[in-house]
C-alpha cells in the first residue's frame, strides 16, 4: 500500500473515531478549555496523528543525528558519548570571592566555567568611577585589570577546562588572553566562549558602552582574531536567552537569535573572510522556558533552520559550519518569589526540556534567584538537578528520544515556519542591524511580553504560587544571599594598588596605540591584549577606543 492510500485510510478512521468515540465523551464531559495553546500562544490540537506529518521525508527533514539537517542532533551518539557541560554561572563581590565559588562548583562536579561580569565591567567602566558606586560586584565579578583575571582564575588550569565569559567586551577577552600569555598557555589550547553578541545585548539588556557601529566592529575584531589564533575558542555566542527573558515568544527567540548570527555572517564576509573560516566557531545561547514541548521543538527547529541557512543561503561547505552548538540556561523570569522551593521543580522541567532537545551545555537557575544572587547551598541544589537528570533519569540513553512523535515533529515544523516568516520580515526591513536600530525588534518583543502579562493577570495563564495555589504566609528561602558592600571598597583599593605598581609609561604607550589604530581598520585585538598585559584598566581601554 502506498503512503497516500495509508493516509486516506487513517483519515477515514479518524472521522469515525471522532464521531463514534470522541463526540459522545465531549458531549458528556466537555474539555477544560475551548482552546489549548503553548506558552507562546501557538494552538495545540487535541491529538496528533500520522496525518500531521504526512509528506515529511525522514532523510531530508530529520535524518540521523550527526547528519544534515541535524534535526535529531549534531552528535551521532547524543549523550551516550559525552554528557553536556554542567556550567553554572558564577560571579559576585570580588575576584577573590568568585574564585572561591568557582573552585567550590568544580569540587561539586561542575565541568565548565561560566564567569559573569558585574555591571561596571559590562559597561567597560572602572570600579572607582563615580557612576559605579553601589554597583561593583553586585551581580557579577568586577574585572578592572589583568590582576583581577589572575585572581579569579587562580589555581584553575585554563588549558584543561573550558571557560565561558559572559560579557560583550573585547577588553575582557583581551585580559583573558593576557593571562594565558603570562601563564605561558599557548592560545591554541584555550577552549571556551565569549558572549560578544553586542547586537542582541544592545536591545535586550541595553548595554551600549559604545555606539553600536563601534561595538559591532570590536566584536567582529574579536571573532576574526580568534578564528585565526584560537582554533578551539567560540568567539561569539548569539544570545537568545536575553531575547526570551525580555519577553519574546519561542519563535521570536529563535528568529532574532539566528538573525543576529546572519548579520555577523554578512559583516565577516564583507571583511573578506570565508564563511567556513568562522562559522564552525559560532555558538548559540538559548533559554529553556516553562512550556516543555515547545522548548524541545524550538531547539530541534533551530538546528534544522540554521543548517539550511548556512548551507543553502551562505553556501558553507564545511559540515561544521552547519552545526548549531548551543548552551542553555533555564528561564530566570519564570522563577517566583512566592514559595521559592517550587522553583526547583520548575527548573527541573526546564532542564529536562533542554536535554531532550539536545543542549550541549547547561546552566540551571537556583531557587532563590527571585530574591538575590544564589547562595552556595541553592546553587549546589541547582547543579544537582543536572546531575540527577544525567545519572538517574535514563533520558540520556538514546538519541533524540522524542523524535518521530507526531506532536513533536509537527510543532517543530510550525516553530520553524514561524521563525522563517520573521526572518523574511527582517530582511524586508533591511536586515537585523537596521531592524534593531529602528526599534522594531524590541517593539515586537514588548508586544508579546504585554500580551503574556495580560493573559497572566486575566487568569488565562496559571503560575503556581502567584495566581493560583497561593499560601497565606510566604516564607523566605532558608538564606538570602547578599553581597557585603565592603567588597566594593576592597575592589577600589585593589585597582588603586595596580595603578601604583604598574609601569605607567608602558600603559600610556599601549593605550596610545589603541587610540591610533581605532581610526584605521586593522584588527584592534592585538593592541587590546598588549594594553591588558600592561595592566591598563578596562575604563582606560574604553576611553582609548572612543578616541
Amino acid at each position: 500500500m502506498d503512503s497516500r492510500d495509508e493516509e486516506k485510510r487513517i483519515g477515514r478512521a479518524m472521522q469515525e473515531w471522532e464521531k463514534d468515540i470522541l463526540e459522545p465523551v465531549i458531549t458528556r464531559s466537555p474539555e477544560r478549555q475551548e482552546r489549548f495553546s503553548t506558552l507562546s500562544g501557538k494552538e495545540v490540537n487535541r491529538l496528533y496523528t500520522p496525518l500531521d506529518v504526512a509528506g515529511k521525508d525522514y532523510l531530508e527533514d530529520l535524518n540521523f543525528p550527526g547528519g544534515y539537517p541535524f534535526t535529531r542532533g549534531v552528535q551521532p551518539t547524543g549523550y551516550r558519548g559525552r554528557l553536556w557541560t554542567r556550567r553554572q554561572v558564577a560571579g559576585f563581590a570580588t575576584p577573590e570571592e568568585t574564585n572561591r565559588r568557582l573552585r567550590y562548583l568544580l569540587e561539586e562536579g561542575q565541568t565548565g566555567l561560566n564567569l559573569v561580569c558585574d555591571l561596571p565591567t559590562h559597561h567597560q567602566m572602572d570600579s572607582d568611577e563615580p557612576a559605579c558606586e553601589g554597583e561593583v560586584g553586585r551581580d557579577g565579578v568586577p574585572l578592572d585589570t589583568l590582576r583581577d583575571m589572575e585572581v579569579v582564575l587562580e589555581g584553575i588550569d585554563i588549558a584543561s577546562i573550558s571557560t565561558s565569559l559572559i560579557t560583550g567586551g573585547a577588553a575582557v577577552m583581551a585580559m583573558f588572553l593576557a593571562l594565558a600569555r603570562k601563564r605561558n598557555t599557548p592560545f591554541h589550547l584555550l577552549r571556551g566562549t565569549l558572549q560578544n553578541d553586542v547586537l542582541s545585548l544592545y536591545y535586550t539588556v541595553n548595554i551600549p558602552c559604545f555606539p553600536l557601529s563601534l561595538s559591532f566592529r570590536l566584536s567582529t575584531d574579536v571573532i576574526e582574531y580568534c578564528v585565526q589564533n584560537l582554533p578551539h575558542w567560540n568567539p561569539i555566542s548569539f544570545v537568545g536567552y536575553q531575547i526570551r527573558e525580555t519577553g519574546s515568544s519561542s519563535a521570536q527567540e529563535m528568529a532574532f537569535t539566528l538573525a543576529s548570527a546572519i548579520a555577523y555572517t554578512k559583516a565577516l564576509i564583507e571583511r573578506g573572510l570565508e564563511v567556513d573560516d568562522f562559522a564552525p566557531r559560532f555558538s548559540f545561547f538559548f533559554n529553556a522556558h516553562s512550556d516543555f514541548f515547545e522548548e524541545i521543538c524550538k531547539y530541534r527547529a533551530a538546528r534544522r533552520l540554521w543548517a539550511r541557512i548556512m548551507r543553502e543561503r551562505f553556501g558553507a561547505r564545511n559540515p561544521r559550519s552547519w552545526l548549531l552548538r548551543y548552551h542553555v540556561q533555564t528561564a530566570g523570569s519564570s522563577l517566583t518569589a512566592q514559595q521559592p522551593l517550587n522553583n526547583v521543580i520548575r527548573t527541573t522541567l526546564q532542564a529536562l526540556a533542554a536535554i531532550l532537545g539536545g543542549a550541549h551545555s547547561l546552566h540551571t537557575n537556583s531557587m532563590d534567584e527571585a530574591y538575590s544572587l544564589p547562595s552556595e547551598q541553592a546553587v549546589r541544589t541547582a547543579l544537582r538537578i543536572q546531575q540527577v537528570i544525567a545519572h538517574e533519569s535514563g533520558v540520556t540513553h538514546t538519541v533524540d528520544p522524542l523524535g518521530g512523535s507526531f506532536f513533536v515533529e509537527k510543532l517543530t515544523d510550525e516553530l520553524e515556519e514561524e521563525a522563517v516568516e520573521i526572518l523574511k520580515e527582517i530582511e524586508n526591513r533591511g536586515g537585523m542591524v537596521k531592524a534593531v536600530e529602528e526599534g522594531w525588534v524590541r517593539g515586537q518583543i514588548e508586544d508579546t511580553a504585554y500580551r503574556y502579562n495580560r493573559e497572566l493577570e486575566e487568569g488565562d495563564r496559571l503560575v503556581v504560587g502567584v495566581n493560583c495555589c497561593r499560601v497565606e504566609e510566604e516564607e523566605e528561602p532558608l538564606e538570602v544571599f547578599s553581597v557585603d558592600p565592603a567588597h566594593e571598597e576592597h575592589q577600589k583599593r585593589s585597582l588603586e594598588e595596580v595603578r601604583k605598581r604598574r609601569d605607567a609609561g608602558k600603559v600610556e604607550e599601549a593605550l596610545g596605540r589603541i587610540c591610533r589604530e581605532v581610526r584605521g581598520d586593522r584588527n584592534l585585538m592585538p593592541f587590546l591584549v598588549e594594553a591588558a598585559q600592561a595592566y591598563a584598566s578596562i575604563g582606560e581601554m574604553r576611553e582609548a577606543c572612543k578616541a
Binding site: 559590562h122 553601589g134 554597583e135 551581580d139 548595554i207 517566583t336 518569589a337 527571585a370 538575590s372 502579562n453
Partner: protein, 143 residues
Amino acid sequence: MRDENKRIRILLAKPGLDGHDRGVRLVARALRDAAFEVIFLGLRVTPAQIVQSAIQEDVDLIGLSVFSGGHMTLVPRILHALGESGASAVPVVVGGIIPPSDALELKKTGVSHVFGPGCSTSEIISSLRRLASKDEVQEYVTR
C-alpha cells in the same frame, strides 16, 4: 483642592547601570492603559535628573525600577536628593528584585511601597491610585 478627574502623573525611571527594562516598560504601558500620565525617563537616570523632572513635571508619584541588587544604595540616594530639593512630599515607590528584609528597610527610609516579583499590574495600579489620592498624600506628609 485636587481635581478628582485629574489624571495621575507618575514619573518612572530606572537608576543605576542595569538595563533589564522589561518590567518598567510593562508597568509604564499598563499605567498608560489605566489612564495614568506616565513620564518615563528611561535607563541609567541620575538622582539629579529624577529630582529635576519630578519638580518640572509636577508629578504625583515617582516609581523606581531596580533589578541589579543595588537598591539599598540607589534608592536612598534619590530620597536624599528629593529631600534636599524640598520635594520629599512626592511619594516614591520601588519595584524589582527586592528581598523582603530590604523592602522593610526601604520603607523605613521613606519609600511608600515596594512591588516585588509576581506582583500584578492591577495590584500596582490600585496601590498607586490610593497613594495618589488626597488622603494618602496627607497621611504621608504628616507621618
